[in-house]
Symmetry: D3
C-alpha cells in the first residue's frame, strides 16, 4: 500500500503555480506531493561567446537544493566551493530536456537560463524540476512574443518528466523518497505530451532488470506524463 | 511619499510563518514586504572539534540567495565555487546576533545551524533573516526542551533586526530596495525587544553623517524592533 | 555507408588487453576502433568512513581524458581546478555499472577504485570504459581470491556497454565520433551478457523519438553486448 | 590598569611612515603599539569593465595578515585557497571607508588599489589599516596631482579609525589584543577629523549594551580620531 | 649491481615512437625502461594575450600522471581540484627546456602546447618527458614547415634530459625508482646534443656533496644525453 | 659597471635582523640590497600524520610576496585562490634546503614551519629567503635547546644561498632585478659554509652555456656564500 492510498499508476498531488516570482521573466512553483521546486527563467538578450553570430539561441539550466530541503541537512554547495556530481548530472539533464523542446534557430540570439531550486525534497526533484521548468520557459517565451522580440513561437513540443521504479516487484509511478530508497530499479523519463522520448535514464539499483520490466515502467510514465502535460496546459491557461 | 503610502516610521507588511519546513527542527518563512526568506534551524547533537569537551554549544548561520531572487539574475555561488564577501559578511552577522541571544553554556554540547535562504529580495534581506532566524531557533530550542534534552531554556533575550536610512534628508525605517539604493546613510540594527544593542552596522554611502542623524536612525529602529518582537511572540504563540 | 564498410549492427574492431599496467592490481587497455582507454583497478583494504564496520565493500570509478585525446585540445581538468559535469556524469555511470556487477557484501571491507583514462577518443569513451573496467575489476577480484582475502567470488554478473544511435534515420551500433556528431538520438546501454538492463541513458539530440525506435536501439545493443561479453571472457581466459 | 599605564581615553603609541615602499605610488607603515601594518596604494590608469566610460574612478582595498603575525600561526590564505570571511569583511570595510573619503567623479577613470598587510598583530588591525591606508591613498593622489593627471584634488574628507570597547564595565579607547579578548562590547568607528560618521560597527560580545554605553564609546572614538587625524596630517607634512 | 645488469653509465632501454597520437600535430610515446610517457604537441595559431602583436611565438608544457601510474595510487589532481607543487615544478622545467631549444622570433605568432602524461612511472618521468617532448615538438614544427606556415626552421638546438645520482657512494646514470629512493644526491640535467647546459637541478637528499661529485654526475649526463640525442635523431629519421 | 659600483664578485649590502617578530619562536628580517624578506619559524610540538610515531621531526617552508613588493602590482594569491607555480617551486626549494641543514632524527617529533614573506623585491628573493630562514630556524632550535625540549643540537650544517648569472658575457654574483632580467644564464646555489652543494638550479635563459661558464658561476657562489655564512654567524652572536 502506497502512502495516502495511492495506486501504482497514480501521481502524487501535483500543483504548478506560474508567475510565482516577482522578478523573473518566467517562473513556476511546482509541487509533486512534498517535493517543492521553484523554477525561474531569466532572459539574457545575448548568447555565450562560442555561439555568437550564428543566429541561434541557447537554453541552459542550473539546479540547487537548499541545505535543509532534506531529512538531514546537506552541506551548502556554495560553502564547500563546488557542486556535487549529482547536481551537475541533474542540471545537464534539465538543460538537454528543455533544449529538445525548443527550436534554437527560431529563438534567435537570446539565452534563457532556467534555475531550479529545491525548497523541499521528497523524491523526484529532477522530474518535478523538468516539469516546472517547462512552464517557466513557456512563460518567458510568451513574454518575448508579447514584446515582439520573437515573431514565431520557438517551442516545438511540450515536455514533462516523471520517475518510475520497481518496488518489491511492482512497477510504481512517481516515487516518493521512501519508495525511491527501496526501489530495485529506477528510471526517469522525459517525454512529450504524446509519449515520444526526449530522455531516458534507467538504473538497476539491485539486480539487473528485463526489457519487459522496462516496458512496464515506460507505459506507466506515458500515462503519468499525459496527465502532467495536462496540468502544464491548465496552469498556462491553454485550455 | 513612500511606496504603499508608508510613513517614515512604519514597517513594511510583516509575516512570520513558523514550521514552514517539513524536515527542519525549526523553521520560519519571513516576509518583510516583497523580501521573502526561508530560515531553517538544524540541530546536530555534537559540537565542532575545537569546542569539544567544554560543555558548551554552538550556533552558527549560513546565508544564500537564489540566483533570480533579484531584479536581474546573479551568478549562482555554488557554480562560481565561492561565496561573495557580502554573503560571508551577512552570515557572520546573523550568527553573532543569534549567539548573543543564547546562553551557550546552557545549550550544552549541541550545535544549531541556521540557514537563511532568500527566495525573493527587495531590500533588507539580512534584517529579515535575523528576525526570522530567531523564530526558527526558538522553535528548535523548544523541541529540545520538549524532548527533555534541555532542562533549562538557554535563550536569554529576544533579538530582531531592521534597517534604517537617510533618504533625501529624511530618516526612514525598514528600507525597500529602491529606498536603499538612494540612501545617503544606511544602518542595520540588531536589538533586543527592550531596545538594547546587539549589533550595529552604519555606513555613509555618500557624505559622512552626524551623531544626531545616527540617533534618529537608532530611535526609529527601537520603535520598529519593538513591533518586530511582538510579531515574533505572536508567531510563536507566546501571547 | 559506415567507415571501413561496417554494417549497422557491427562493432568496431575490439581489443582488450588485461594486465597492461605494471603496478595496478587489475588493468585493461581497451580499444573500440580508435577509442583507446586505459582502465586500472586499485585495491584499498579499507572502506570510506561512512561505510566502516558494516562488513560491506565499495567500488567506485574515476574518469579522465588526456588533453589531446581529441581532435582539438581540451583544457586539462587538473589545471582548471575542476572536473566538468560531463566527466562527473561519466564516472558516476561507470561506478554504478560496476557496483551492479558485484555483491558488495561478499566483497567485505575492501574498496576498489577503477580509473578509466582516455588515451585517444573517437566516440564511445564511456562505453569502452565500462567494458574495459569490468575486465580490470575482474582481474583485481581474481587477485584477492588467489591471495585468499576473498573466499567467495563477489561478481554476480558480467557487464559491458555500448552506444547506439539513429543516424539519418537508421539505427546504428557503436557510434564513432563522426556518427555520434550527426545522430538524432543516442543511447548508451550497460547490459549483462544475457541482455538484462543495468543502465540505460537515451537522449533525443534533435526531434523526440518513439518507443519503437528505442526498441530498435535496444535490440542492436543486446547483440553488440553479447559479443563484447565474449571478448571479455576471451581476454580473461575464461573460455 | 591598562598596559604601559595607559588611560582609558589614551591611544597606544602611534607611528605613521609614509613612503615606506620603494615601488608603490603611495605607502605608509602604520604602528598602533605592537600592531604593525604596511599599506600601499597602487594606481592603475583604467577602471574595472563595469565602470568603463562613465568618467568615474574606483578605490578598493585588500587585506591580508602574515601567517605568523599573531600569537600562534594561522594557515596562509593563499595555501588554503580562500580568504576567510573575516578577511573579506575587513577589506570591504577599508574599501568603503576610503571611497567615502574621495570624490570618485573627480578622480576620473583611474583605479587605486590599497593593500593592507598586517606584519604584526596586537588588536585593532582593521582600524590601523584604515588610518594608514588614508595616508597611502593621499600620497598616491598627490602624485597624480604633481604629474598633472588630476587637476582638482578628489579628497573630500580625512578619515581615520579606532576601536573602543567596554572592558570590565569601563569604556576604553584603542583596545589591544588582551583587552579585545575580554571586552563585553566592541565597536569600530571610522570617522572624519571633525567626528562625522563614515562607518560604525558595534557588537555585543556578551550581554547587549545600552544606547548610553554606545554614546560613551562614540565620545572616546571622537577624541581618539581627532588625534589620529593630527598624526596623519603631520606624517603628510600638512602642518 | 643494478637491475638487469646495467653498468653505472648505461641508460635503461630507450624507445621513442613519434606519431603515436591520431589527433595531435606532433607526438611521441617515450619509454625509459618501465617509465612510459605520452608527449603530444598541440598547435594554436595565436599567442596568449600578453604576447600579442610582438611577432613572437610561445611554447609551454603541462605535465600529468595517471593516478595508478605509480606503485600505490595517487589522488587524481583533477578530482582534488589542484595540481601539486611537484607537478607545477616539472611542467615549468619542461616548458623552459623546450623554449631554450627554439627561436621564438622565428616561430612567429604561434603557440605550441606540449602535454606530457605519464602512463607508467619508474623514476625519471621528468627527464623522459623532456626527451620525448622534444620529438613531439620537432614533429609539430616539421608540419608547420611542410604547410608553409613557417619559412625558416625555428629549432636552434636539440635538447634531451637525464637524471644522475649518487647511490651508495657511486655515481649512476638514469636512476630507476628504486635507485632514486636511495640516492644521497640527485641531479637532473637538460643538455644539448653537444653537452651544453640548458638546465641543471641538483639536490642533496642526505649530506651535502662536493663539486667533484657534481662533476662526475655531469660527465655521466653528457655521455647519456649524447646517446639520447642519437635516439631522437633516429626516431625522427634524421640519420 | 654594476649599480652602486659593485664588483662582479661583490654581494649587495646584507643585513640580517634576528628576533624581528614579537610572536614567532624564531625570526629574521633579511635584506639583500633592496630585497627585503621577513622569515619566521613557528614550532608545532607534533608532526604531520604521515610521520607520526617514527620519532622524526619535520621542517617545511611557505613563501609569499606582498602584492606590491614588486615594480607593478601582482594579484594577491589568497584572492585568486591559488599559489602560482613559481611560489610553489620556491617554497619547495627553501624547505629542501633547510631539511638538508638539520638532522630530523635528532629534532624528534617536532614540526617547524618557516614562513618567508617578501616585503620588497629587487631580485634574489629566494636566495635571501633561504639565507634568512636559516637564521630564523637556528633561533627556534636554540629556544628548544634552552627549554630543554632538545638535548642535542640537530643542526648539522650551515646553509645560505645566492644567485649568480652571466650578464653580457660576464659572470656576476648576487643579481639584482635589472641584472636578472638581462641575464643569459642564471643559477641559484644553496651551499654550506664550506662550499659543499645542498642545491643547484641553473637555467639558460638564452643560449645554452658551457661547463666552464657553470664552473665560474659556482666559484663566485662559493665566495659569496662564505661571506653570507659569516653574516649569519655574526647575526646569531656566534663569533
Amino acid at each position: 500500500m502506497r502512502a495516502h492510498g495511492r495506486q501504482a499508476d497514480q501521481l502524487r498531488p501535483i500543483s504548478l503555480e506560474p508567475g510565482f516570482s516577482k522578478h523573473a521573466e518566467g517562473s513556476c512553483f511546482v509541487r509533486f506531493g512534498d517535493t517543492h521546486v521553484l523554477c525561474t527563467a531569466s532572459i539574457d538578450e545575448k548568447v555565450p561567446s562560442w555561439l555568437r553570430g550564428q543566429g541561434r539561441g541557447w537554453v541552459t539550466a542550473e539546479y540547487g537544493m537548499l541545505p535543509r530541503a532534506t531529512h538531514s541537512r546537506n552541506d551548502r554547495e556554495a560553502a564547500k566551493g563546488k557542486q556535487t556530481g549529482r547536481t551537475q548530472e541533474i542540471q545537464r539533464l534539465i538543460g538537454r530536456a528543455l533544449r529538445a523542446a525548443i527550436d534554437l534557430e527560431k529563438l534567435g540570439e537570446v539565452s534563457i537560463k532556467i534555475d531550479c531550486d529545491v525548497i523541499q525534497a521528497d523524491g523526484g526533484t529532477r522530474t518535478a524540476s523538468v516539469t516546472g521548468a517547462y512552464v517557466a520557459l513557456y512563460q518567458a517565451i510568451e513574454g518575448l512574443m508579447n514584446k515582439g522580440t520573437l515573431k514565431e513561437n520557438p517551442i516545438r513540443t511540450e515536455v514533462a518528466a516523471v520517475s518510475c521504479g520497481i518496488v518489491k516487484g511492482e512497477a510504481l509511478l512517481d516515487l516518493d523518497y521512501t519508495e525511491d530508497s527501496s526501489a530495485g530499479a529506477d528510471a526517469n523519463f522525459v517525454l512529450t505530451g504524446t509519449g515520444q522520448i526526449v530522455e531516458i535514464q534507467g538504473t538497476a539499483e539491485g539486480a539487473p532488470f528485463s526489457a519487459e520490466e522496462f516496458a512496464n515502467l515506460f507505459a506507466l510514465a506515458q500515462g503519468g506524463i499525459a496527465r502532467l502535460t495536462a496540468y502544464q496546459r491548465t496552469a498556462l491557461g491553454l485550455f
